[in-house]
C-alpha cells in the first residue's frame, strides 16, 4: 500500500471523491444544525403523516412531510433525533424530545414509534429452542405475538445493562426490558441464545 495522498494517482479517484462530496448539503459542511425546540412546530397532516414548520431566522421553512430518525435507537432513543424531509435530506437534529411541549412531543413520538416499531415483551408464554431456531410466544405491550428467531447469529443481544434486543427471522424487533426478571426456565433458554 502506498502512503501517498489520496487521489495522488491523478484522475482515478476523482469520481469517487466526487461521490463522497456529492452527498447531501448537510454533510457538505461538518456543522450539525441543532434545532431549537421553540422554533419547531409539528402538525399531523391529513394524510396521516407529520409536517414541520421551522420558524425563526429570515424566513420560516415549511416541510409538508418529514421523517424522524433516532440516531441512538438503542442507547438513547429519545435524544438526538434526526428530522429529515421526504427526500431524506436532513433538516436538523433535535437534541431531546423532552424539550418539546407535550402535545408536540406526542406527535413526534408517534412518528418515531411508527418507524422503530419495537414492542416490549412483558411475558414469555412459551419459548422453545430446536434445530437452530427458537420459537417464541409472547405477550407484548402491543399484544400477543408468535415469532421465530434464528440462533447463533447475534439475533438475541443484551443492550445496556439488562435489556434484550431480539430480531426475528423477518427482521421484526422486540425488547425485553430486564431479562433477569424472566422466569427461571425462560432465562435458562434465553441464556443459551445469547
Amino acid at each position: 500500500m502506498s502512503e501517498a495522498k489520496p487521489g495522488a494517482n491523478g484522475h482515478g479517484d476523482a469520481a469517487e471523491a466526487a461521490e463522497h462530496t456529492a452527498g447531501h448539503t448537510a454533510e457538505h459542511t461538518a456543522e450539525v444544525r441543532m434545532l431549537a425546540p421553540a422554533a419547531l412546530r409539528f402538525a399531523a397532516t391529513e394524510g396521516g403523516f407529520l409536517a414541520l414548520t421551522v420558524t425563526g431566522g429570515e424566513k420560516s421553512e415549511h416541510y409538508p412531510r418529514i421523517n424522524a430518525f433516532r440516531t441512538f435507537p438503542l442507547s438513547d432513543a429519545d435524544r438526538y433525533l434526526s428530522l429529515r424531509d421526504a427526500g431524506g435530506k436532513e433538516i436538523g437534529i433535535l437534541e431531546s424530545l423532552a424539550d418539546l411541549r407535550s402535545d408536540q412531543a406526542a406527535l413526534l413520538r408517534q412518528e418515531l414509534e411508527r418507524r422503530y416499531f419495537t414492542p416490549v415483551i412483558e411475558r414469555v408464554r412459551s419459548l422453545k429452542e430446536e434445530f437452530g431456531y427458537s420459537y417464541w410466544l409472547v405477550e407484548t405491550d402491543a399484544g400477543q405475538r408468535r415469532f421465530t428467531v434464528q440462533s447463533g447469529k447475534n439475533n438475541v443481544t443484551v443492550v445496556g445493562e439488562r435489556r434484550l434486543l431480539i430480531v426475528d427471522v423477518d427482521g421484526n424487533r422486540f425488547f425485553v426490558d430486564d431479562y433477569h426478571r424472566l422466569d427461571r426456565n425462560m432465562l435458562k433458554t434465553v441464556e443459551t441464545l445469547l
Binding site: 491523478g10 484522475h11 471523491a17 466526487a18 415549511h62 416499531f117 430446536e130 434445530f131 423477518d170
Partner: protein
C-alpha cells in the same frame, strides 16, 4: 396465489355494497389501526380500494388516490399513496403547498413479516391505477408448515424442521451405500460376530470357569489350560472381528462422503448467484463441510455402533435371562432410572459448556480487537482502558470455567459411584442367592461381567436420539442443495444465438434484491450494437445491479432485458456466457498459472492466442519478466501480483474470450499513473468494435463513451454525450463539478 379472504371480511364488504368477486387483490396486515397486533385488510377492485378494520370499511376510488406504494420503515412498513407525478423521493419542500389531497396519504401499517405481500399488492394496485391489468400475481410461497402449522424458520426454504421426513431422508442417505452393498454385508457380519464373542467372554470367565472347571463336580474339572486357551481365542477372534468391521466401515463411509461432497459441489456450481448472496458464502462453505462431517460421524461412529450396541444389549440381556431370570430382572429395573438421570444432567452440562464457550469467544474477540488495533490504541494512549476492558471479560471466563470444572469434578465421581452401585447390587442380590444356594458362584461372576459390559452400550443409547436428529438435519440441508432448482435457470427450449450482433435493450426493468427495497425502477435503455455506453452515478445508485441483470446473474422483477431482441431468460445460457464478457472491479484470479487464468473462458486457446491476448492487454511485458513467465502459479485471489497487474490479466482474459458484449466495472483502486495509462489503452483497444456497457469513474472513459447514462436512486435521469450533459447542467454536470472541486481541494488539476 393470493391470500384467501375470510368469510367475515366478505360479509363486511357485502354490507358496504362491494361484491366480493370484484376484488382483484387482497392483503392482510398483522397490525390494527392503533399499531397493535391485530388484523386489517386492504382489498382492491378495478376501481376502488377498501380498507377493512374490524367493523369499519373505508372506501376510496382508485382514481382519486395517488399512486399506491409500500414504503419500508425500520421494522415494518406503510401502505400509502403518493400524489401522481412525484417520484419516490419527491422532496421539494414546496413552500406554501397546502397539506391536502396532494400529499402522501397513509393507509395502513404492517410489520416486516408482511412486507413482501404488501410490496406485491402495492405494485399490482399501482398497475390497476395505470389502467393495466396487473400481471398474474406471483405465486406466493406457503409460509407455515401444512402439517404442524409451525412457521418455516427460513422463508426461502419450505422446510419444517419438526416435520421433515426423517425416515425418508435416512433411506435416501442409505441409498448412497448401495454401491458398497457387499462391504456392508461384511460389516454387519463382523459386527454381529464381535458382539456375540464379547458376550461369550463373561460366560466363559464366570460360569464355565467357576462352575465347570474349578468346581470339583464340574464337567471340565481341572481343564484350566484349555479354558484359558479358549478364552484367549475368543478375545482374539473378537478383536479380529472388530478390526475388520472398523476398517471396512472407515473405507465405505469415507468413500460415501466423498461421493456426496462431489455431488454437493457440482450442485453448488449450478445454483444462481442469488442463492449465494442470500446465504453468505462463508456460511455456506462451513455448512457444506459441517453437514457432510456430521453425516460422516453418523456413518462411522453412529450407525455401526448403534447396531453393534443394540446387538450387544440384546445378547447380554438374553444371556442373563437365560442364566437366571430373577436376578436379571432385578438388575434391569434401575436401568431406565440411570438413563433418565443422564438425560437430565446432560443439558445442564451443555449449558455450562455453552456459557464457557461464549465467554471465551468474547474474550478472544477483545484480545484480537485490541491487538490488531494496537496502533490506534497506542496513538490514542488508551492502554490502561484496554486493560480495564479486558478485566471483566476475563472475570466472566474465569467464573464460567470454574463452574464447569466444579460441576464436572462432582459429576464424574458421582456417575462412577452410581455404576459401582450397579455392581454392588449384583454382588448383594447375587451373593445372597449364592449363600442361600439358589445361584452358583460362576453365574454370579458372569453377571458381574455382563453388568460391566452393559454400561457402555446404555450410555451410547442416551446420545443416539440427538445424533440421529443432528445427522438427519444435516442430510436434509445437503439434499436441499442437491435438489434446489436454480432460480436463474435455462429454459427447456432455449433460443440459440451463436453469433450476437450485440444490441442490448432494457424495457421497463424494475428489480430489488429484497422485497420492499427496490433498487431499480422502470429502467428503459437501448444500446446499439458496437456502441459504448458509460453508466454514471453515485455509489449505490444501482449501476452494478443493472449489470447483474444484463449478464443474467439475476432475473428481473418486472420488465425485460433483451439481447438482439431476445429476452435473456429465453437465451441459451452457454451462448450468453460466451459472448458477454465481464471485467470486474476486483478481478478474481483462481489459484493456477497465469496462462490458465487468461484462458479461463476458453480453455482450448493455443499458447500463441494466450500471448496475443496478454500483449493486447499490456500484460505480456510484466508476465515475461516473472521468473516463471506464463507458468507462474498465482495463489488464490492473485497473491503476489499488484492491483494493476491483476487488472490487466483480467483484461487479457476478456480479450481472449472475444465477447460481442463487454461489461466493464471500472476500478477505482489506486494504481500509479503509468499503469493507469496502460490499463486505459488496453481497455480502449478492447472496447473497440464491441457493445460496451461500462460503469465509468474516470473522466477519460466518460469522454470515450458514445453516450453516458446517469443513474440516480435506481432511475435513469439523464442521457447524452459528455458535452451534451455538461451543457444541460443537470445531475451529471453536478457530479463532474464536484469531482473537479474535490481534485482542486487536494491540489490536483483535473485533466480535461
Amino acid at each position: 396465489m393470493e391470500q384467501t379472504i375470510p368469510q367475515e371480511i366478505r360479509d363486511r364488504l357485502a354490507a358496504a355494497g362491494v361484491r366480493p368477486d370484484e376484488v382483484r387483490h387482497a392483503v392482510r396486515s398483522d397490525l390494527d389501526a392503533d399499531g397493535r397486533y391485530g388484523s386489517q385488510w386492504a382489498l382492491a377492485t378495478d376501481t376502488a380500494l377498501h380498507l377493512v378494520d374490524g367493523e369499519r370499511v373505508d372506501s376510496h376510488a382508485l382514481a382519486e388516490l395517488g399512486e399506491m406504494q409500500a414504503q419500508a420503515l425500520v421494522t415494518g412498513g406503510l401502505l400509502m399513496t403518493r400524489p401522481d407525478g412525484l417520484g419516490a423521493d419527491a422532496s421539494a419542500p414546496a413552500a406554501g403547498a397546502a397539506d391536502g389531497a396532494d400529499l402522501d396519504r397513509l393507509l395502513l401499517r404492517f410489520t416486516n413479516s408482511e412486507a413482501q405481500r404488501f410490496e406485491t399488492f402495492a405494485r399490482a394496485v399501482a398497475a390497476l391505477q395505470k389502467g393495466e391489468r396487473a400481471q398474474a400475481a406471483e405465486a406466493e410461497r406457503e409460509r407455515n408448515c401444512p402439517r404442524c402449522g409451525l412457521r418455516y424458520p427460513d422463508q426461502h426454504r419450505s422446510v419444517c424442521p419438526r416435520c421433515i421426513d426423517k425416515r425418508g431422508l435416512f433411506l435416501r442417505v442409505l441409498g448412497y451405500l448401495r454401491p458398497y452393498r457387499g462391504w456392508v454385508a461384511l460389516i454387519a457380519a463382523a459386527m454381529v460376530a464381535a458382539a456375540g464373542l464379547r458376550t461369550v467372554a463373561p460366560l466363559l470367565s464366570g460360569r464355565v470357569l467357576f462352575d465347570d472347571v474349578l468346581d470339583q463336580a464340574g464337567r471340565f474339572h481341572g481343564q484350566l489350560a484349555e479354558l484359558i486357551a479358549v478364552l484367549v481365542g475368543v478375545h482374539l477372534l473378537g478383536v479380529l472381528a472388530e478390526v475388520l468391521h472398523m476398517r471396512i466401515t472407515a473405507r465405505v463411509s469415507v468413500s460415501m462422503i466423498y461421493d456426496l461432497k462431489n455431488e454437493i459441489f457440482a450442485a453448488l456450481q449450478r445454483l444462481s448467484l442469488g442463492f449465494f448472496t442470500r446465504k453468505q458464502t462463508g456460511g455456506l462453505m462451513v455448512r457444506v463441510n459441517h453437514d457432510s462431517d456430521n453425516l460422516n460421524y453418523f456413518f462411522i461412529d453412529g450407525l455401526p455402533y448403534f447396531v453393534v450396541n443394540m446387538v450387544q444389549i440384546v445378547a447380554i440381556v438374553s444371556a442373563m435371562i437365560a442364566l437366571n431370570w430373577s436376578l436379571a430382572l432385578l438388575l434391569l429395573i434401575p436401568a431406565p432410572l440411570a438413563v433418565l438421570i443422564i438425560r437430565r444432567l446432560v443439558p445442564r452440562i451443555w449449558r455450562l459448556f455453552g456459557r464457557q464457550y461464549r465467554s471465551l469467544a468474547i474474550l478472544n474477540g477483545v484480545v484480537e480487537d485490541s491487538l490488531s488495533g494496537v496502533r490506534v490504541v497506542k496513538a490514542f494512549g488508551k492502554e490502561q482502558e484496554e486493560i480495564e476492558r479486558f478485566g471483566p471479560v476475563n472475570d466472566e471466563v474465569y467464573r464460567a470455567h470454574r463452574r464447569t470444572q466444579q460441576m464436572l469434578a462432582t459429576l464424574f465421581p458421582s456417575v462412577a459411584f452410581l455404576t459401582q452401585l450397579g455392581g454392588l447390587v449384583v454382588w448383594a442380590a447375587g451373593g445372597w442367592q449364592v449363600v442361600s444356594g439358589n445361584l452358583t458362584f460362576g453365574v454370579l461372576m458372569s453377571f458381574v461381567g455382563f453388568v460391566a459390559l452393559l454400561y457402555e452400550p446404555l450410555r451410547f443409547m442416551t446420545k443416539v436420539v440427538e445424533w440421529w436428529s443432528a445427522a438427519m438435519n444435516s442430510a436434509q440441508r445437503i439434499f436441499e442443495i442437491l435438489d434446489s432448482v436454480p432460480e436463474v435457470a435455462e429454459r427447456a427450449d432455449p433460443v440459440p444465438l451463436p453469433a450476437m450482433r450485440g444490441t442490448v435493450e432494457l424495457r421497463g426493468v424494475s428489480f430489488g434484491y429484497e422485497p420492499n427495497k427496490p433498487v431499480l425502477h422502470e429502467i428503459d435503455l437501448h444500446v446499439a450494437a458496437g456502441e459504448t455506453v458509460g453508466l454514471v452515478g453515485r455509489t449505490g445508485a444501482g449501476k452494478s445491479t443493472l449489470i447483474n441483470l444484463i449478464t443474467r446473474l439475476y432475473d428481473t422483477g418486472s420488465g425485460q432485458v433483451l439481447i438482439d431482441g431476445v429476452d435473456v431468460r429465453d437465451l441459451r445460457t452457454a451462448d450468453l456466457r460466451r459472448q458477454v464478457g465481464i471485467i470486474l472491479q476486483d478481478p478474481y484470479l483462481f489459484a493456477g498459472s497465469v496462462a490458465g487464468n487468461i484462458a479461463y473462458g476458453r480453455p482450448d486457446a493455443s499458447r500463441a492466442q494466450v500471448v496475443a491476448a496478454a500483449r493486447a492487454a499490456f500484460a505480456h511485458d510484466f508476465i515475461t519478466k516473472l521468473p516463471n513467465g506464463y507458468d507462474t502459479v498465482i495463489g488464490s485471489r492473485g497473491h503476489g501480483l499488484s492491483g494493476g497487474e491483476r487488472q490487466r490479466l483480467s483484461i487479457a482474459r476478456a480479450v481472449l474470450l472475444d465477447p460481442r458484449i463487454l461489461i466493464l466495472d471500472e476500478a477505482t483502486s489506486s494504481v500509479d499513473s503509468t499503469t493507469e495509462e496502460m490499463i486505459q489503452q488496453a481497455l480502449e483497444r478492447l472496447i473497440h468494435g464491441r457493445t460496451t456497457i461500462a460503469i465509468a469513474h474516470r473522466l477519460s472513459t466518460l469522454r470515450m463513451a458514445d453516450r453516458l447514462v446517469v443513474v440516480e436512486e435506481g432511475r435513469l435521469v439523464e442521457q447524452g454525450t459528455h458535452d451534451e450533459l455538461m451543457e444541460r447542467g443537470g445531475v451529471y454536470r453536478r457530479l463532474v463539478r464536484k469531482q473537479h472541486d474535490a481534485l482542486a481541494v487536494i491540489g490536483i488539476g483535473a485533466r480535461r
